[in-house]
Symmetry: C3
Subunit: 201 residues, 3 copies
């Protein structure tokens, strides 16, 4: 249980960061920057919890994360200007890949706890992993990147969720299954990014 929490916190920060970038690119003001970061960070998990009818929501139970994003949004503008010179695209992709793995595995795990059938559980994992970004792009009036760039982003999440599900079927301990599946997703995402793999349309 605590492992899943650790997983979600890390992913939240990475998600918020992607929201800051997108909101700044759209020249949004402070309110937009906070909201888009919040949606990018918590959107996937919130959609999953609404679909599963789970309450309290993650960010209601842990208001400290909402406050953290609020404070970061206040300093996002100078923060981004400084970070621009420090943070390379490579670093963003790596952090985002970690977030994808951690979020997706947390999602499929929650769905199993809520007694979802297995294919639906794998979908809930992918939803948790990618819908923060999807909702972020919709709010920013873009066709969601993950639906159109032909890169195996959601597909990595989907494969890793099935790895987790299969490990569960074969009685592999849950902690090990969680971490290794998250690592598998992040690694696969980075490998396909490094070698610029495209999935056929």
């Amino acid at each position: 249980m605590r492992l899943v929490t650790v997983i979600e916190i890390t992913a939240v920060l990475v998600g918020a960061f992607s929201g800051f970038i997108e909101a700044r690119r759209k020249r949004m003001d402070l309110v937009g920057v906070f909201t888009v970061a919040f949606i990018a960070a918590f959107g996937g998990g919130t959609l999953r919890d609404i679909l599963l009818d789970r309450r309290p929501l993650f960010w209601v139970q842990h208001q400290e994360y909402a406050i953290l994003i609020f404070v970061l949004a206040l300093v996002a503008s100078p923060l981004m200007k400084t970070l621009r010179h420090i943070v390379s695209e490579r670093l963003i992709v790596i952090a985002d890949a970690l977030g994808l793995g951690l979020f997706s595995v947390a999602g499929v795990s929650s769905a199993l706890e809520a007694h979802m059938p297995i294919f639906i559980a794998s979908m809930m994992g992918v939803i948790t992993g990618i819908f923060g970004g999807v909702l972020r792009d919709i709010v920013c009036n873009e066709v969601p990147m993950v639906f159109r760039d032909g890169k195996p982003y959601a597909i990595c999440a989907f494969l890793g969720c099935w790895l987790f599900l299969l490990m569960g079927m074969y009685g592999i301990p849950r902690e090990f299954a969680l971490w290794s599946s998250a690592f598998f997703i992040s690694g696969l995402r980075l490998l396909t990014w490094r070698f610029n793999v495209q999935v056929g349309r």
Copy 2:
């Protein structure tokens, strides 16, 4: 009860097909094609169930439909190329009109079972009938077609939902009311399409 299920299955396939078309038009990749088809097929019913707080969701209870759309999405690209020469616009409009009728009537029926007041029940019917398409268009970054083409699409659904509600008040058997209202909606939609009826703005 089983009748409503049959109604929803048919409508799901028609909805998914509209999602395939729209996602291909937007040059989305496999992930986009599946997601948009899924949203087009299940979006209206899912929104209704969230508003009514009904669980499990239709596609959670019947994961075979989610799997079916998943498999269809995998073959959507060659499928669409083949179907383009076979499926005329007329056929798409007919299938879509059937979906509209079936979905809307299933929606108003569910809302009554959930003890919604009567006007709200009629709205839930229309939401179930049209919001798959609305959410599909929002994800594809378009102003929803059903809100701007001036054709009586949602209005057909609305009138048919009231036909169903009135039949219920006058004690007409539920099965008959369901099928005849769905038939009424589909027929009215096709008639207004055939004669190019426009509702004044």
Copy 3:
């Protein structure tokens, strides 16, 4: 309890009006005009209730408001043409500021009743106040105005929600806290509008 109801009704009408304007600007048809007005009026409160898992929704419990917007939508087109000569921008801004204050305070109050932690409650207030407009803009395929115009709209709501929360902590009677916080939000919004205050990006 009745006070909160009065608060929400006033705000609903103002919200619907903003939806009429936006839908007409986008040349939507009758269905679009009704739906956008409905979303603008009830979207914020509905999102709050879904997040809090509160049912029945406000507009389900009070179907008379849904019917009212329906009737207004039927006459929206001639109504708007007439009102264009009567209603100045100033009047719209004033009505909207009243709606913002009333909605936000109703939202934070509901969130407290649902035992939300305090920062989350303030966020729920702001969500109730601004997300009708946010969802309206998303459906109309626009980047939400409130995220990009740099005016302290959501910020007024946020400050007023904290005023309400602080009054509660200091034992100030709830009725007084509700009205004075709503008045504070509306007044601050109008002042910052009048003097064209911009919050730095």
